[in-house]
């Protein structure tokens, strides 16, 4: 007589240590094998888009901070250059450079969290704390610049809230020379660790075509082997002036596009960001940062889709203006929102432990998914 078997449904979250926030995954299991993963979102829904309709354009900026709270600077960045484009404002050189420095530092900080928590998901506790120790230093740089450590409201339409602190340049250079060797330390401790490689290589392989069709962007897409970075392919601000490389996944220890590649691309990107920050510091011009601040932000009737390369992927703002001081509609194309949609596709046929590895490698932030 054949045994009657039944699929087991395991609810992961919304309170679970490794769903990176309040995500609920409904996992259907056959033994320990995953047959289907259904993400349920919305536990952190804070009505960003509805709020934005009732605010003036500058008032929306603090709300953008709270979407991807690990990369607030970059969220500001995308929104303000979108609005500036609608208004036709050209910001001073110095502002452009400072924005890029802040953006790239934020990218490093965001990747640090991504890599650290990924180590935590796999069970390595120590690299997480090493990376957080170094992230503190970046947050301190932000703090001396604008007084806030997590939610900055730093970039304004047409300018910045504060000019750089006199010590900023020195401290940033110190940070760069301090942090470079630490990347090697991370690689030795975690990236090339045999157990870590065993856990992540050939897990959750994402082929390039699937990734494109699913709209996956950012490090996740690059790990699949496609050299596609908006900083190069659709340049905004002054990224065309810097010399940096776009790391792609090469399948060093497994297949191209596996979890290890997604991890390693982020490690390499940190190095490139350091390089950009260094160049920007060298070229940083003097000037008045508030020169181009508009008296009143009132874009003409129309719409714009502005996209930037957020640490997590393509962050897009689709802004419709009806000619008043309030945006008519702000739709955010959140990179994590789109990247998470692939989870089911990647997890099928893997083990429970691999869901955690795959979810961690996608680097999602729930604040951005639920908005």
């Amino acid at each position: 007589m054949a045994l009657k078997t039944e699929e087991l449904v395991l609810n992961m979250g919304p309170q679970h240590p490794s769903t990176h926030g309040v995500l609920r995954l409904e996992v259907q299991l056959e033994g320990e094998l995953v047959t289907k993963v259904t993400p349920h979102l919305g536990y952190l829904h804070r009505c960003f888009e509805k709020h934005a309709e009732a605010m003036t354009y500058p008032q929306v900026i603090p709300y953008t901070d709270r979407m991807d709270y690990l990369a607030s600077m970059y969220n500001n960045f995308g929104y303000v250059i979108g609005v500036e484009k609608m208004l036709g404002i050209q910001v001073p050189e110095r502002v452009e450079y400072i924005r890029i420095i802040m953006g790239e530092l934020q990218r490093i900080a965001s990747h640090m969290v991504a890599l650290g928590t990924y180590g935590l998901d796999i069970g390595a506790f120590t690299p997480f704390l090493y990376l957080f120790r170094d992230r503190e230093k970046i947050l301190t740089l932000f703090e001396i610049t604008c007084g806030a450590r997590l939610l900055y409201n730093y970039m304004w339409v047409g300018g910045l809230s504060h000019d750089l602190h006199p010590d900023f340049e020195r401290l940033t250079r110190e940070f760069i020379s301090y942090f470079r060797p630490n990347i090697d330390e991370l690689n030795n401790l975690l990236t090339y660790n045999k157990i870590f490689v065993e856990r992540t290589a050939n897990i959750g392989v994402l082929p390039k075509e699937t990734a494109i069709n699913y709209g996956i962007t950012g490090p996740n897409l690059r790990a699949s082997g496609l050299k596609y970075d908006l900083r190069r392919n659709d340049p905004y601000s002054i990224y065309d002036r810097f010399d940096f490389e776009i790391p792609v996944g090469e399948g060093l220890v497994g297949t191209v596009g596996d979890c290890w590649d997604r991890f390693y691309v982020r490690v390499l990107e940190m190095e490139q960001s350091l390089k950009i920050v260094e160049q920007a510091l060298n070229q940083l011009p003097e000037g008045d940062i508030n020169e181009a601040l508009p008296k009143r932000v009132k874009p003409p009737k129309g719409s714009i889709y502005q996209r930037v390369e957020n640490p997590k992927g393509e962050l897009g703002y689709f802004i419709i203006s009806d000619g008043t001081v309030n945006p008519f509609r702000v739709k955010v194309r959140a990179p994590s929102f789109v990247n998470l949609a692939i989870l089911n596709e990647l997890s099928k046929g893997h083990l429970v432990a691999d869901i955690i590895a795959i979810l961690g490698s996608l680097d999602i932030v729930l604040g951005e998914i639920d908005r």
């Binding site: 087991l8 395991l10 069970g123 704390l129 157990i195 065993e198 691999d354």
Partner: protein
């Protein structure tokens, strides 16, 4: 100790109680220190300070935590099989505590001077599996169930290489009593089993590499048996929240905790008895040099604890360095690598012993 107490007092019950309670006097302070150590070791490895507020450098932190745990409300969720749910932590603790009965703390103290010490330990530690399965099953929680299943599978699998290695050592030393085994590796560290035992000759040097392999196999599989990283599958917090003790709180949780740390020391002690001379000092005894006879057993306890704690420290060191393997890889390591190697090792050591 039991016999001498019977001789002195003439009360068998009293003697039994005293010699049974001795390990508690060791275990509870040890757990308190080990938890503190774990925090400090992890903290310093991770470039932070760890507990600093309670007492000097946080020395009293664990004691404060202990009182906190005692005061906690004992939550028993609905839909739980209460009888077995309440019983499970005690069974787990009993299983790990029973191991202490056969550990030779010094030449003067061993809970039970049975000839089958090592055999008994392997057998009795199976109780822990029963307790863990009970905890996982009665919790009526899928995470607990997964944790328990994994844990049972893991402990049972890893008992095989452990037993094989121990078997090869038994073959070679010709005794199953841990006390005798310690006795044999007397005096200086070159007499330890890891360095080929007390008898001088070619066999000693031929054996060293195989004994080293045996030691590594034994250490790895004991790591897995006590569910420490990189084999902490059952309580893999990033997947299974807290594994089989997810639903426990307060004192019952503390029992699991106590059992875990008790186990950690027990397996470290077994490793040290089998390979590193147990309670024997590596440099000879101060008591013998000074002519103070009664000092020797205390020195032996010191060395026994020191060696055990050193291996506990190595366990912590590994925990805070390595990531966790996946459950199927865990089985692969056991069945495809450790077991064949330990078979080969058994064979080689057997042949060498015969010659």
């Amino acid at each position: 100790m039991y016999e001498s107490l019977v001789e002195i007092t003439g009360l068998e019950i009293f003697a039994a109680f005293v010699s049974a309670a001795m390990p508690v006097a060791f275990l509870v302070p040890f757990v308190i220190i080990a938890v503190y150590l774990e925090r400090k070791v992890s903290a310093h490895m991770q470039d932070r300070l760890g507990p600093m507020r309670v007492g000097y450098h946080g020395l009293l932190q664990t004691i404060a935590d202990f009182f906190k745990l005692i005061q906690k409300e004992d939550i028993v969720a609905e839909g739980i099989d209460k009888k077995f749910f309440n019983f499970a932590p005690f069974l787990v603790f009993a299983g790990s505590y029973a191991v202490y009965a056969a550990l030779p703390f010094s030449s003067k103290y061993i809970g039970s001077e049975t000839d089958l010490g090592i055999f008994y330990i392997i057998a009795i530690s199976g109780l822990v599996v029963a307790g863990i399965l009970m905890a996982g099953w009665t919790s009526n929680n899928k995470y607990s169930l997964y944790g328990a299943m994994r844990s049972a599978a893991q402990i049972i699998s890893y008992e095989i290489p452990t037993a094989l290695v121990i078997l090869s050592i038994i073959m070679w030393t010709g005794t199953m009593s841990l006390a005798t085994m310690s006795e044999m590796q007397t005096a200086y560290f070159w007499n330890w089993n890891i360095l080929g035992g007390p008898e001088w000759g070619i066999t000693k040097f031929v054996l060293i590499p195989f004994l080293l392999v045996a030691f590594i196999i034994l250490y790895v599989s004991t790591l897995a048996e006590v569910n420490r990283t990189p084999f902490d599958m059952p309580e893999a917090e990033s997947e299974l929240v807290a594994g089989y003790h997810t639903e426990y709180s307060g004192m019952k949780f503390a029992m699991f905790f106590l059992a875990e740390y008790g186990n950690m020391f027990a397996v470290s002690a077994i490793v040290s008895v089998i390979f590193f001379g147990g309670y024997q000092s590596p440099f000879g005894y101060l008591g013998n040099t000074l002519g103070i006879e009664w000092l020797v057993p205390f020195e032996q306890v010191f060395w026994f604890a020191a060696k055990g704690i050193f291996f506990v420290f190595v366990q912590m060191w590994l925990r805070w360095t390595l990531p966790r393997v996946r459950v199927d890889q865990l089985m692969t390591i056991c069945w495809k690598y450790l077991i064949p190697y330990s078979f080969v090792n058994l064979l080689v050591i057997g042949i060498i012993t015969l010659l």
